[in-house]
C-alpha cells in the first residue's frame, strides 16, 4: 500500500508511527533510549530499544523560532549562553514544557557517542543526573590519519560495542540477538546506499535538490536507520527526484543556476527557508555539505557487524582530522561541480565550527574560489544579525560575478 504514498506522505507516516511507538514504549515492554544522531543505533533497533534523538526535537523547536524562549529559560538555571543551542533548548524544554511538537518521551537510558561531539555526552549526563539514569559513553577517539592507529581505534570501539551490548542486556534483562543485528544492518546498509544516491542527485545540472531538500530528506536516515520503512522511504524519494532529473526540473531553472554552493556546518534552522529564497534570488543553490553526508554510511555486510559499525561511526566527518575533512569536501566540490562556498561559523556547534577557519584556508587554496564566512548561531536568534548577513551575501555574489565564476550555462 505504501508504494502509493509520496515521499512526503511516507515520511509523515513513518514519523507518526515512530513517535506513537515511542510514547507507548513502556506499554509494549520497550525501553526508551536517548541517543546521539551519529551513534550505532542499529544496536538499539536490534534490541528493541526505541531510540529518541533530543537533537531532532530541538531542531523542530529552533526552526519554529522557539530558541530564545527556551535558551533564556535554561540560562536562568545557571547554564551559560554559549553552550550548544540544541542542549540549551532541550534543557529549556525540560524546565518549561514548551515545544511545538508533542514533546518526546522521557528516557530510560542514554547512549552518547562522541563521534559527533563531546557536547552531547555532557548534555546527556545533565539529563541523566536528573533521573539518576545510566549513560553509556561510546568513546570514539579522533580518526587520526595514522593507519595503524585507526586499526587500534576500531578495536577499541568494537570492545566498547560489546560492552554496550552487555549494558543493554543488563538494562533490559534480555539476551542480545546477533542474528537480528545482522538483519538490521542489512536495512541500514541498503538505506544508506539510497540516501547517498539521493544526496548525489545534486550532481545534475540544474540540480533537482538543494541542501534544504536534503535537510528535510535526511530526517528518516537519522531516526529510522535499520528498518525496512527507511529503505522504502529512500527508494520513493530517489524515484521522485529521478523523475525531476528526467524532466530537467531543477531547484532553479537551468539558465538561472549560476552558483552551485558548498555549505559548511549545520544550517541556521530558523532562517532555513529565507536563506533558500535569498540565495535563489542571486542564482545560487546550496548543493551539499559534509553535515548531510554524515548519515551516508558504507557498511560492509561481509564483515562482523560490530566491526563495520565501529569503522563507520569513527570515520564520520565530525570525528575526522581537518585534513581529511578537506579531502571529503574536495571530493564533493569535484563531484557536484561547485563554484562557490559559504562557511558558517556556528557559535552553538564548536565541534564543527572550530575546524572552519582552517578548513576555509585549505579549501579556498585548493579550489581557488573565495569563501563567504559568517558567524551566527544555528538556533539562537540573538546571535543573528539579519542586515549584516544580507549585505555579506550580496557582496559575496558581487565578488563571484566580478571574478567571472558564474556557471557558463546560466544566463549572466
Amino acid at each position: 500500500m505504501s508504494e502509493k504514498l509520496t515521499s512526503k506522505q511516507l515520511s509523515r507516516k513513518i514519523t507518526d508511527e515512530y513517535m506513537e511507538d515511542a510514547f507507548h514504549a513502556h506499554d509494549n515492554g520497550k525501553l526508551v533510549g536517548y541517543t546521539t544522531a551519529i551513534s550505532p543505533v542499529e544496536i538499539f533497533v536490534a534490541h528493541d530499544i526505541v531510540p529518541i534523538y533530543p537533537e531532532n526535537h530541538a531542531v523542530a523547536n529552533l526552526t519554529a523560532k522557539k530558541g530564545v524562549e527556551l535558551c533564556s529559560a535554561v540560562e536562568s538555571m545557571g547554564y551559560t549562553s554559549h553552550l550548544c543551542a540544541y542542549a540549551r533548548s532541550d534543557l529549556g524544554y525540560r524546565k518549561t514544557g514548551v515545544t511545538v511538537t508533542k514533546g518526546i518521551p522521557d528516557p530510560d537510558l542514554f547512549l552518547a557517542c562522541n563521534a559527533q561531539c563531546f557536547t552531547l555526552t555532557k548534555w546527556f549526563q545533565v539529563l541523566a543526573r536528573k533521573g539518576d539514569l545510566p549513560v553509556f559513553v561510546f568513546d570514539t577517539p579522533e580518526h587520526i590519519m595514522n593507519k595503524e592507529a585507526r586499526k587500534e581505534i576500531v578495536k577499541y570501539c568494537v570492545l566498547q560495542l560489546k560492552e554496550l551490548i552487555g549494558f543493554l542486556e543488563v538494562q533490559t534483562k534480555r539476551k542480545f540477538d546477533y542474528d537480528r543485528l545482522k538483519e538490521v544492518m542489512k536495512y541500514s546498509a541498503a538505506s544508506s546506499i539510497l540516501y547517498k544516491k539521493f544526496l548525489d542527485m545534486a550532481q545534475y545540472k540544474p540540480s533537482p535538490i538543494s541542501i534544504f531538500d536534503e535537510l528535510i530528506g535526511m530526517a528518516i536516515a537519522v531516526y529510522r536507520r535499520g528498518t525496512q520503512e527507511c529503505v522504502d522511504y529512500y527508494q520513493t524519494l530517489c524515484d521522485e527526484i529521478q523523475a525531476k532529473v528526467d524532466q530537467g526540473i531543477g531547484v532553479l531553472p537551468k539558465d538561472q543556476e549560476k552558483y552551485r554552493l558548498y555549505w559548511e556546518n549545520l544550517p541556521v534552522w530558523f532562517k532555513f527557508s529565507d536563506h533558500a529564497k535569498l540565495l535563489g534570488s542571486y542564482g545560487g543553490v546550496i548543493l551539499t555539505s559534509l553535515y548531510v553526508h554524515a548519515w551516508s554510511f558504507d557498511f560492509d555486510l561481509n564483515k562482523d557487524p560490530l566491526e563495520t559499525l565501529a569503522e563507520n561511526y569513527v570515520n564520520r566527518f565530525s570525528n575526522s582530522t581537518i585534513e581529511d575533512r578537506a579531502d571529503m569536501a574536495m571530493e564533493l566540490f569535484n563531484k557536484y561541480s561547485m563554484n562557490s562556498m559559504i562557511m558558517f561559523m556556528n557559535r552553538s556547534c564548536k565541534a564543527v565550527s572550530f575546524a572552519v577557519p582552517t578548513l576555509k584556508d585549505i579549501l579556498t587554496k585548493r579550489t581557488g574560489i573565495p569563501a563567504l564566512v559568517f558567524e551566527s548561531d544555528m538556533g539562537d536568534q540573538r546571535f543573528y544579525a539579519e542586515s549584516q548577513v544580507r549585505t555579506r551575501i550580496e557582496a559575496y555574489f558581487e565578488t563571484l560575478d566580478r571574478l567571472g565564476l558564474a556557471q557558463k550555462t546560466a544566463v549572466a
Partner: protein
C-alpha cells in the same frame, strides 16, 4: 640551571620559564617537547631524553590564535596556541597533544597543520573511565606514543630508561606532596603563590635538577603557624594567572586541598615501579581523581570535593571556572547545587587567559570572604 633555586627564584621563573628553558637546551643540546594538559604520560617523553614541558598558556597578547580558534573557544586552548604560534614555537622540536574534549580535538589538528615541520602527535585520552575497554585503550595509547617517539627520535626505549624517568617524576610528586603537607599544617610557611609556582615549574623544567631545589627549599623552611588564615579548597582544572594566587594571599587564604589537573591530580600520579611499567602508567590514569571531560558523574566530583572539605576542615570552596570550557559548564550548575545543599560555602571564580580582570576577581572574592566571616553564607 634549576638545581639551586630559592623560593623567590621559583616564583619569578614560574611566571615565564621559557628563557631559562632556552638556555638549558643550548647548554645540554636536548630537545623540548610540549604538551597541553591533561594526562599525557610525560615520563615516556622524558625517558627518550627529551624535555617534556607542560604548556599552561601565555599572558602575552593574542595575535594569531584568534584567526584559528573563535572567541568562544576556551581561553586556555587559545592561549596555548598563541604561545606556540607567536612566542615560543621555535623552542619546541615537537608536541604531544592530548585530546580530551572537542576543543582539544581541533586544537591538535590546527597545531599539526600550523607546524608541518615539527613532530606533532596526538594522545587520544579515553572519555570514559569506568569500563575495561578504557584500560585497554590507555595502554594502547601509551604504547603508540612509545613507538611514535621511537620512530621520531630513532631510538629504542629501554625499560631502565623508563624506570629512571618514572622514579624522577615520582620523586617530584613526593616532594611536592610533602611541601603541600607542610603548607597545610603550618599555614604561613609557604604562600599560595609560592607553592603553586613550585607545582607549575615542576611541570615545565627538568625534574632531575629541580627536585634538588625543591628538597633544599623544603629542608630550609622555617615552620610557622599563622592563625589568621582561612583554609580553602580549590576546585577546577587549572588556576591562572599566578596573580590569582597573590589575591588569595592578600585575602589571607590558605589552600589546603585542590582537585586541579596541575595540582593534586598531578601529585596523585605516582607510578608503581614493580611489574610492567606500561601497565603501571596505564593504571595511574584511573587513580587521578575527577576530571570533567573524562568522568561521567559530577557527583563523584562532589563526593571528592566534600571529602576534601571535611578532611581538611576547610572553611570554603573556590571553584575556578575557565571561561568557555564546556565540560565545566555542563557540570557546574549541578555541582553548585549539590555543594550548596550540603551547606558548604562556595565561590565561583571566573578566569580567562589574556583578558581576566584581577581587580574584579579581587572585589568579588573579597565580598565573598567578608560575608563568610560575617556568617552570612
Amino acid at each position: 640551571m634549576w638545581e639551586s633555586l630559592n623560593l623567590k627564584d621559583v616564583v619569578t621563573l614560574a611566571r615565564d620559564p621559557y628563557p631559562s628553558i632556552r638556555q638549558w637546551t643550548r647548554d645540554t643540546g636536548k630537545k623540548v617537547v610540549g604538551s597541553t594538559i591533561a594526562d599525557v604520560p610525560q615520563e615516556v617523553i622524558h625517558a627518550y631524553d627529551l624535555l617534556p614541558v607542560t604548556l599552561l598558556g601565555t599572558h602575552k597578547p593574542l595575535k594569531k590564535a584568534a584567526s584559528h580558534l573563535p572567541d568562544n573557544a576556551c581561553s586556555l586552548a587559545r592561549s596555548n596556541l598563541e604561545l606556540a604560534l607567536s612566542y615560543e614555537g621555535d623552542l619546541f622540536s615537537g608536541f604531544v597533544l592530548p585530546q580530551v574534549c572537542d576543543t582539544t580535538q581541533h586544537l591538535s589538528d590546527i597545531w599539526r597543520i600550523s607546524f608541518p615541520e615539527k613532530y606533532v602527535e596526538s594522545y587520544l585520552a579515553p572519555r570514559q573511565a569506568d569500563r575495561p575497554s578504557a584500560h585497554y585503550w590507555v595502554k594502547e595509547e601509551i604504547e603508540r606514543l612509545i613507538s611514535s617517539l621511537g620512530k621520531w627520535t630513532g631510538k629504542t626505549l629501554s625499560n631502565d630508561a623508563l624506570a629512571a624517568s618514572i622514579a624522577i617524576y615520582n620523586e617530584n610528586r613526593k616532594i611536592l606532596g610533602e611541601l603541600y603537607e607542610i603548607k597545610r599544617n603550618n599555614p604561613g610557611t609557604i604562600t599560595n603563590l609560592e607553592f603553586f609556582a613550585m607545582m607549575k615549574l615542576s611541570m615545565q623544567v627538568d625534574k632531575a635538577e629541580f627536585n634538588k631545589s625543591l628538597k633544599a627549599i623544603k629542608d630550609g623552611l622555617k615552620l610557622e603557624k599563622s592563625k589568621s588564615l582561612t583554609d580553602i579548597v580549590l576546585v577546577g582544572i587549572t588556576c591562572d594567572p599566578p596573580e590569582v594566587f597573590d589575591i588569595f594571599d592578600e585575602l589571607k587564604l590558605n589552600i589546603v586541598g585542590d582537585t586541579l589537573v596541575d595540582g593534586t591530580r598531578y601529585l596523585r600520579g605516582a607510578v608503581s615501579l614493580d611489574g610492567n611499567l606500561v601497565d603501571a602508567l596505564a593504571d595511574r590514569h584511573f587513580n587521578l581523581g575527577f576530571f570533567s571531560p573524562i568522568h561521567d558523574n559530577v557527583y563523584k566530583n562532589f563526593e571528592e570535593v566534600k571529602k576534601l572539605y571535611y578532611d581538611m576542615k576547610a572553611s570554603a570552596i573556590i571553584y575556578v571556572h575557565i571561561e568557555f570550557c564546556e565540560s565545566q559548564e555542563y557540570d557546574l550548575p549541578d555541582l553548585k547545587n549539590a555543594i550548596k545543599k550540603e551547606g558548604i560555602p562556595m565561590h565561583v571564580l571566573d578566569t580567562e587567559y589574556q583578558t581576566v580582570s584581577l581587580s574584579h576577581i579581587l572585589t568579588r572574592a573579597q565580598a565573598f570572604f567578608e560575608s563568610l566571616k560575617g556568617g552570612a553564607l
